[in-house]
């Protein structure tokens, strides 16, 4: 079974039971270079491996860019 989530504002299909850590890995994201918010709650990095995604979850993956 697959779930529909929102990832950085775009719809994404993920397998049931997928963790945040696995999602980042699948997307090729280095976890120490980002911050992750799940349903408006910021996840601590230690939580990535224990947090499983579910139907309708809203995930934001952010990083620093140039700015003034």
């Amino acid at each position: 079974m697959a779930y529909q989530i929102s990832l950085n504002g775009k719809p994404e299909r993920v397998e049931e039971g997928l963790t945040v850590a696995q999602l980042l890995e699948a997307k090729g994201v280095n976890p120490v270079r980002v911050a992750v918010e799940l349903n408006r709650r910021i996840l601590r990095r230690e939580e990535y491996t224990s947090t499983r995604l579910g139907e309708g979850d809203v995930v934001e993956v952010v990083t620093f860019v140039g700015g003034g």
Binding site: K27, I42, G68
Partner: protein
Amino acid sequence: MDDKLVIAGKGFRSRLFLGTGKYRNYEEMNAAFEAAGAEIITVALRRLDLSDPGKKTLLDEIDWSRYTILPNTAGCRTADEAVRTAQLARAMGLSNWIKLEVIPDPVYLLPDPIGTLEAAKRLVDEGFVVLPYINDDPVLARRLEEVGCATVMPLASPIGSGQGMVNFEQIKIIVEQSKVPVVVDAGLGAPSDAALAMEIGASACLVNTAVALAKNPALMAEAMRLGIEAGRKAFLAGRIPKKAYGSASSPTEGVVR
């Protein structure tokens, strides 16, 4: 001369903050940091580009151990958005400092004083070191200081405009009244603008566009540093008051006629 800038208990030799936006490439940006002797640099927070997550980013190109990172809340239009962005920026694990920007106006990029004060209170309560970006409003500056902001950052003129200090007298009042450092931010176009801000007693300046978009960013960064050093020294030295009439520098007696 030991003349350190102290923000939230942390001492700095440099009084020039640099932004990291708009540079043509990372090489020019790092050369500018070097030439400026910058110790505090600002960054923005955005969604990671997941179509190309392996692409080199700012985080790969800067030696983070060398600088105090000042994330901003640029792009936030309300206090709520700014608080959320600040929390995400802190979760990046590099800094609990935040340059607070609440900007609903996309044309002049002028900050919302009410939203800024509200967000500042919440962020101070959450343990952030808050450096709010504000209009040149002395009353707002005091209110922000009262709620525990680490500095106030009045604009010289709109962001990226390069107009220099358009409201000199207001900035002077803010400097006179503030116990926290006053960092003149936004709109500085040339070293003379920065020097003038420092001459009237600003504690530091933040420059981005004027350096990043100069033909030679490193050379402009050096020029800005020198302008700031000159202005600071002039402030400490104490400039003479302006007078309406001339007064001769040479003796008026003993002239051969």
